[in-house]
């Protein structure tokens, strides 16, 4: 892909964030998903939840504003919005497992058109980094994934079936990549949006399974 077409990292996050509806409770994963909190979504208010029990956190704390005992899931010092509440870890995951999270946004290594995705273990690794991903993936009402459309060496990350160990099966609602927004549709991905300057043919060439317009 050319560096000048498609979405950059913030634009990928913006596209997902524009799916958020007023009043949703949203959990943002570490990395790319964090960028969703920068998106202007107008008058819609979203409540951000973090695995460590923070309900209603706000922007990253500015220099000198940090509370060293207040972090988001990525360990960054955040601020709190009015109306925030803190609970312990079992209650925090009760919120997740109990189905109160309207949307979770995560990064991934692979997303399959059957709705599976993989984000906790790389090929050949002995250990893995699951964190809260399996709970969120299994239990959030919507699972949004943000990832580059291909690996650095050009292999597709949107595939027919995941080669890596999956995080959950059949759960992905939408995946945003640098090429567009895609919906798992069984044996193919369906295009919801193409990024500016990107053609369907380019998407198909970069995807490991059929792509429906």
């Amino acid at each position: 892909m050319s560096g000048t077409k498609g979405w950059n990292r913030q634009q990928m996050a913006d596209r997902i964030a524009r799916e958020f509806q007023d009043g949703w409770i949203v959990n943002l994963g570490v990395g790319l998903p964090t960028l969703c909190s920068n998106t202007d979504i107008g008058g819609r208010e979203v409540i951000y939840h973090s695995e460590n029990g923070v309900i209603g956190y706000g922007p990253i704390a500015g220099p000198g504003e940090e509370d060293l005992n207040l972090v988001n899931a990525g360990g960054q010092n955040v601020t709190l919005k009015p109306g925030a509440a803190v609970v312990h870890h079992a209650d925090s995951f009760a919120i997740i497992r109990g189905g109160r999270i309207d949307a979770t946004v995560m990064g991934a290594y692979e997303v399959a058109c059957n709705g599976d995705f993989a984000n906790w273990k790389v090929a050949g690794a002995k250990g893995g980094g699951i964190g809260g991903a399996m709970d969120l993936a299994a239990c959030a009402r919507r699972v949004f994934i943000i990832l580059e459309h291909t690996t650095r060496d050009g292999r597709p990350r949107l595939v027919a079936r995941c080669a890596l160990p999956v995080t959950a099966r059949g759960v992905v609602t939408l995946a945003a990549t640098n090429l567009g927004l895609f919906e798992p549709a069984g044996e193919a991905f369906r295009v919801r949006d193409l990024a500016p300057g990107v053609t369907l043919e380019e998407v198909r060439a970069a995807t490991g399974c059929p792509v429906l317009a």
Binding site: N69, G75, N77, F93, K121, G132, V166, A168
Partner: protein, 246 residues
């Protein structure tokens, strides 16, 4: 209750009786709520063959702090039970990884919510429960599942602890605890799951009766020893995170 004072003079004294082979839970999620001072004391105490329960295997924070990676490097650890047993970025290498790949330490990888719930279950006298988490994944392979109301669930067992090391913001001498912001995290759940809970506390420990009963986060019946954290540099406190160059 008023006579029962659980304050201990030093971290060394608080961890002195921990035997080889103990299972110990460590509160903390990133810096907040991590009992750095108790961990350092346990490294000095030297108990071995330990099973450690924590969110991560430690060693990823900058600046580096005494977390369970220190105990692993110190040769005190037989097994860890964590939600992360590898770095989330393949390019990072954790201190733990070397020992794990060499087979010197075992690891049980548990989804974070399941980890919290298994300890909560232990504290609540629930020996096992069903969860949708990890169904259909490598973690569920060969394990018992059950379909309830048309959905498949995985059976998980309680995870009891011999000791919990927690960090709190405020305490009274009976051991009633309050946490500050995300310092809370795993700490209340580990205190429930443990036979013996040892708390390091930010503020001066209050006399019994100074905390409103409605404001208690962890009731004192779950807490057995309290140590006030001294000011730095003697005491260890959360540090401002340094972003690593990548």
């Amino acid at each position: 209750m008023s006579q029962r004072n659980k304050v201990v003079a030093s971290f060394a004294e608080a961890v002195r009786d921990i035997p080889d082979g103990a299972t110990i839970g460590f509160g903390g999620f990133a810096m907040p709520g991590t009992p750095f001072n108790l961990i350092r004391a346990l490294a000095e105490q030297g108990a071995r063959n330990l099973t450690l329960v924590a969110n991560t295997t430690g060693g990823a924070q900058q600046p580096r702090m005494p977390d369970i990676a220190l105990l692993v490097e110190n040769g005190q650890v037989r097994k860890v039970i964590c939600a992360f047993t590898a770095a989330t970025r393949a390019s990072d290498v954790l201190p733990f990884t070397k020992y794990y790949e060499a087979g010197e330490v075992e690891a049980e990888l548990v989804p974070q919510g399941t980890l919290a719930e298994r300890m909560r279950a232990a504290g609540a006298g629930i020996p096992a429960f069903y969860t949708p988490t990890a169904v259909g994944t490598e973690l569920a392979e060969g394990r018992e599942t059950r379909v309830i109301n048309g959905r498949e669930y995985l059976l998980e067992y309680a995870l009891p602890l011999d000791y919990a090391f927690v960090r709190a913001h405020r305490a009274d001498a009976f051991g009633n605890l309050r946490y500050w912001r995300s310092q809370r995290n795993f700490n209340p759940v580990m205190a429930m799951a443990a036979r013996v809970t040892i708390a390091e506390v930010d503020e001066e420990i209050l006399p019994v009766g100074a905390m409103d009963p409605d404001d208690v986060h962890t009731p004192g019946i779950f807490v057995h020893r309290l140590v006030k954290v001294p000011p730095p540099p003697e005491g260890l406190w959360p540090q401002k995170r340094q972003e690593r160059n990548r």
